[in-house]
């Protein structure tokens, strides 16, 4: 997708006044927050599992080179072909090459945020290969030409009416008089349309929630079964996965799967967890003949071993955005990057540049709710603060903001000056605000008073009153 994060403020403003979006966002709370809370309450070991999950990823990251090599060895032994891509461009070239050699005309896709990150769909289309998204949410937004607005529920920003309108607009081969007023009919229609695509595809591409080093296995997690039809029916299966997806053993991946579904959708376990290793074996009646895994860096190594290291533990569950008051207010598109919410605020500047994405780590109250629900115990506000530090070092913040904060910091370090100036300012404000007790408007305070009154201070500061009493 095209990064529009620099226009965050404008995008956020549009989101706040978008009635369809605001209505759709109401479902996030019941759909995600309550379900997660319920399923977590039902599992006494949940917090211990979070600790174990964090430890698994920490150990793996510390030994990432060795686990990647072990993974490659096992995957190759099983008949898979492992490719390495430093950049998104490298990955695109590798994938196109595989598709061309396979003579592919269409390629079905399981949901993959990494594929979104590298803009593979547009690239394939430009090169004469039709990508078909099969995850229902991804399919819907593909019809609309939109990027996903959530890393788990790509179409969470849409209402049922909008989906119906899109189906009618695009599925012109179906009876125009058909009844699509129920969601079940919409689902049935998508199932029918996509079934044909699944069966006709030459290549299927999925992401990977995890790569298991012990066995050279890629793992996908879906509720729909679309990822499975994507990877079992075509002759060629391509997996695109970034380097931090690697975990050591089948036991380790089981621990991570226990916290993933519960954190993401409030299910004890997602419907389909599929562990794939290599192409079909001799004697297998189905399965792909070729199995390719494209391992991608695209900025992860720039986070490894430094102050952003913890972000590499992310398992893309989406719990952070589900609980974020900013995400609740504006939805995902306003962020203008594939990765949204708190995890996007940390990841986007790393992957797409601080210049592009600086708004994201700034648009946070640091309420900490994200960190409190992250199954991998990632200190998201701390990481956002690190981006603000980088921004400050590079002088990227608006000049008035830097100046104002600089003045405050100067005064804070010079108590006598602070006392003198605040005595005057508070004295004046207190006198001005005495009658009403508050200000509806105040010069220089427009950011505050645009939407709320400013309580008036009393005329004498606390410290001055203390001083008065002591004298």
């Amino acid at each position: 997708m095209r990064i529009t994060a620099p226009a965050f403020k404008e995008n956020a403003q549009n989101a706040l006044t978008d009635l369809h979006l605001q209505r759709a966002l109401e479902h996030v709370e019941a759909g995600f927050i309550h379900k997660r809370a319920k399923v977590v309450a039902a599992l006494p070991e949940f917090d211990a599992l979070r600790d174990a999950a964090r430890d698994i990823k920490n150990h793996t990251l510390e030994h990432l080179d060795l686990y990647l090599e072990a993974y490659e060895k096992a995957a190759t032994k099983a008949g898979g072909q492992v490719h390495w891509a430093e950049t998104g461009g490298d990955a695109r070239a590798i994938i196109l090459d595989i598709c061309r050699k396979a003579g592919a005309k269409t390629i079905t896709k399981g949901k993959s945020m990494v594929s979104e990150e590298i803009n593979i769909n547009d690239f394939l289309a430009e090169n004469g290969i039709e990508p078909v998204e099969t995850d229902l949410g991804e399919y819907i937004i593909q019809l609309r030409g939109e990027p996903p607005s959530h890393i788990i529920a790509p179409a969470v920003h849409l209402t049922k009416d909008q989906v119906e309108a899109d189906f009618r607009r695009v599925h012109t081969h179906l009876d125009a008089a058909r009844d699509l007023s129920e969601s079940t009919s919409l689902l049935a229609e998508a199932r029918g349309v996509l079934r044909d695509k699944f069966l006709a595809a030459d290549v299927g591409m999925t992401g990977a929630n995890f790569l298991v080093a012990e066995t050279g296995t890629s793992v996908i997690v879906t509720n729909e079964g679309n990822g499975d039809l994507t990877q079992v029916l075509p002759r060629v299966h391509i997996v695109i996965a970034s380097i931090e997806k690697v975990v050591p053993t089948l036991e380790d991946v089981s621990t991570l799967l226990r916290v993933l579904a519960r954190s993401a959708t409030g299910q004890d376990m997602t419907v389909y967890n599929t562990f794939s290793t290599g192409p079909r074996r001799p004697g297998d009646p189905d399965g792909p003949e070729e199995y390719h895994v494209v391992i991608l860096d695209n900025g992860r190594t720039a986070m490894l071993g430094n102050e952003f290291h913890d972000m590499l533990r992310c398992i893309r569950c989406g719990a952070c955005m589900n609980h974020c008051p900013v995400y609740h207010a504006i939805g995902g598109h306003a962020y203008g990057t594939p990765y949204v919410g708190p995890m996007g605020a940390v990841l986007a500047p790393a992957l797409f540049g601080l210049d592009e994405a600086a708004n994201l780590p700034n648009a946070s109250t640091f309420c900490g709710r994200c960190e409190s629900v992250c199954p991998m115990r990632i200190p998201l506000p701390k990481l956002m603060r690190h981006w603000r530090e980088k921004e400050f070092e590079r002088g990227l913040a608006p000049a008035t903001q830097r100046w104002g904060l600089g003045v405050w910091a100067y005064f804070a370090q010079h108590p006598r000056l602070y006392r003198l100036s605040t005595r005057l300012a508070i004295g004046a404000l207190g006198w001005l605000g005495k009658k009403k007790g508050r200000f509806r408007a105040l010069p220089l305070a427009g950011g505050w008073t645009r939407h709320r009154d400013l309580p008036a201070p009393s005329s004498r500061t606390f410290i001055d009153q203390i001083r008065d009493r002591e004298q």
């Binding site: 946070s364 108590p415 009658k435 939407h451 709320r452 009154d453 309580p455 606390f462």
Partner: protein
């Protein structure tokens, strides 16, 4: 009866916070009363200004560290440092050590200060063992859990426990009491529309609770919520929880004239 952990009266240095100092001194006096009633001696170092959180959260580590050093120097002599704010208290307790961690001398002094820094209400209940206050407040209140207080300082049960002992007071919990009010320090002026959207949800929840007054332990949140409630023309008042617990509710509510 309150439990006193030592024979000598604990000597508390009160870190009032810049918002209390500038906008609502009454909270500072309420804090003094609560601490003295619980058997503490209270001093208010007059060189205090700000905890440095605005600089810290804006990425200006250098200024934040410089401010932190002045706070440490002014307060480290006391037995305890008590703060009527989870946010400023959290900055001192949870963030100063990391901020000064690279400096051996100051890092150690920051750790030492952190160990004896507490938010006001939780200091009363968890350290001094205060189980009840003698105060009266006729009316219903709803309590907003300020984010830093809740998630950094573990403050949730304590204010409610003490409020339960206030004569005449009823607590009406709001939905989503633990969800951010949208203040976020500089956030509310950097992203005013976003902040407004969030505080609107908060004021809806406050109104739906049916309470006359909203309480919290952080003045930033309270000014934000009070300002929005007043702009909406709602009669709901806002006070710092310390005012109610100290029985000092004669002063006008936040944003009210005398």
């Amino acid at each position: 009866m309150t439990d006193k952990p030592s024979q000598k009266a604990p000597h508390v240095g009160l870190f009032a916070t810049c918002l209390v100092d500038l906008f609502r001194p009454g909270v500072g006096f309420a804090a003094i009363k609560l601490l003295e009633d619980a058997g503490c001696t209270v001093s208010v170092p007059q060189s205090q200004t700000c905890c440095g959180q605005p600089a810290y959260n804006s990425g200006d580590r250098r200024d934040a560290a410089a401010i932190a050093k002045t706070v440490i120097a002014a307060f480290e002599a006391y037995d305890f440092v008590v703060v009527p704010s989870g946010s400023c208290g959290g900055t001192i307790k949870k963030h100063y050590p990391g901020l000064l961690g690279d400096d051996r001398e100051w890092g150690a002094r920051a750790e030492a200060l952190s160990a004896k820094t507490h938010e006001l209400i939780s200091f009363l209940t968890d350290i001094l063992g205060v189980a009840a206050v003698s105060a009266r407040f006729d009316g219903s209140v709803t309590y907003h859990d300020s984010c830093s207080g809740l998630r950094e300082m573990g403050i949730e049960a304590q204010p409610r426990a003490l409020l339960e002992t206030v004569d005449g007071l009823t607590i009406r919990e709001m939905a989503d009491a633990d969800v951010c009010c949208g203040f976020g320090g500089t956030f509310c002026v950097k992203y005013p529309e976003l902040s407004n959207a969030i505080v609107e949800k908060k004021t809806e929840a406050i109104a739906a609770s049916g309470a006359d007054t909203v309480l919290a332990g952080d003045l930033g949140c309270l000014m934000n919520m009070a300002g929005k409630l007043q702009r909406q023309g709602r009669p709901i008042k806002a006070r710092h929880v310390a005012e109610v617990l100290a029985g000092m509710t004669d002063m006008p509510a936040i944003g009210e004239s005398e």
